[in-house]
């Protein structure tokens, strides 16, 4: 599949299964044009977050147009923020263009994938993920 030039997406959750499930759902919508990777659970697969798993997922999702992080709760958000700070300080090796979206996990991932698949740039994908907060359900 050709994912060159599309923004990558990483789904960070306390739960490995939740991250993988969100990726399964959103990947379908990317039509093979978007790299979306899970980073769920701690390093041994239990509940928690691992900055190393985040780094691996970012590398796997990076095709040169930047990577959007989506996080669920608590340590996922803090780990994502730490990772972004590391990238800005050039301490982590991955792409420099990594942004944590202020977005709901599932709806944000779906919106981000749909937008990235259309070839949108990083800022547009991040904004689309954030706008997912406005999807009303009743």
């Amino acid at each position: 599949m050709d994912t060159r030039g599309t923004v990558g997406i990483v789904v960070i959750s306390h739960s490995r299964m939740l991250a993988e499930g969100v990726v399964e759902l959103a990947r379908e919508l990317g039509g093979g044009r978007v790299l979306i990777e899970p980073a769920g659970g701690d390093a041994s697969g239990g509940l928690g977050t691992s900055i190393e798993l985040v780094e691996q997922a970012v590398r796997a999702a990076d095709s040169g147009a930047g990577v959007v992080l989506l996080a669920d709760v608590g340590s996922s958000v803090l780990t994502a923020k730490s990772f972004v700070a590391d990238c800005e300080a050039d301490e982590a090796i991955g792409t420099q263009e990594v942004v944590l979206a202020d977005a709901p996990l599932v709806e944000g991932a779906v919106a981000a994938v749909a937008t990235a698949a259309g070839g949108a740039d990083l800022a547009t994908v991040v904004a689309a993920a954030g706008e997912a907060y406005d999807f009303r359900k009743s």
Binding site: D42, L47, G48, T49, I51, S75, T79
Partner: protein, 211 residues
């Protein structure tokens, strides 16, 4: 205070955390997910294990940065990025100085607090580690203004942290997992504040050895 002093602080912190691991986990089980003692024990053990790999001529700042990196990697919960980030911020504040005085240590502690607040966005009264660390840093700086030596400044910090942690009991959590409990978080000591007390006590113990 040289690199060996800071390594000693971290080893003492790991000892105190291991000794109190069950209490931290019990506090966390009341208002969180019951893994704080386990997580911190793993993180600080990893920090101590990372120290021998440092070169013999390493500087205090590098010791704290290496420990912080290990803690971010190995802790697993929210306390990993918070404490790990704090140690790295403190290490950066110390720079390349081979020996630091009590004023530089105070500035590093202030940088650690700023790092935690920058990442977690918690203020005083939110029932977090900030409720122990902020008064500890304030007390350290006050002792410094009274021309205290490192031991006196660190002892003041440790005592203020302990008071701050006890003062979290009646608070309702506004940050972290406990905040989902609403008023049910009232009546419990915050586990992050409790672990901050151990880190400040470890610093005071290490500093007492400099007299």
């Amino acid at each position: 205070m040289d690199a060996a002093f800071f390594a000693g602080w971290l080893r003492r912190a790991a000892e105190l955390i291991e000794a109190d691991s069950e209490r931290l986990t019990r506090l966390d089980a009341a208002i969180g997910d019951g893994d704080h003692g386990l997580n911190l024990n793993r993180g600080f053990s990893a920090a101590v294990a990372a120290l021998p790999a440092l070169p013999d001529d390493t500087v205090p700042g590098k010791v704290l940065i290496a420990a912080g990196r290990a803690i971010v990697s190995k802790t697993g919960g929210a306390s990993g990025p918070l404490y790990g980030g704090a140690l790295r911020a403190a290490g950066k504040a110390l720079g390349d100085a081979p020996d630091v005085d009590e004023a530089a240590l105070g500035a590093a502690l202030r940088a650690a607090l700023d790092g935690i607040q920058g990442l977690g966005q918690a203020a005083m009264g939110d029932k977090t580690m900030v409720d122990a660390l902020a008064p500890a840093v304030d007390a350290y700086e006050q002792a410094l203004r009274r021309h205290g030596d490192p031991a006196a400044c660190a002892e003041a910090a440790a005592e203020a942290a302990a008071h701050g942690a006890v003062a979290t009991v009646p608070l309702q959590a506004r940050k972290g997992r406990a905040s989902y409990l609403g008023t049910r978080s009232i009546g419990h000591e915050d586990p992050g504040a409790a672990s901050t007390v151990l880190l400040m006590r470890a610093l005071a113990d290490a500093a007492a050895g400099t007299r």
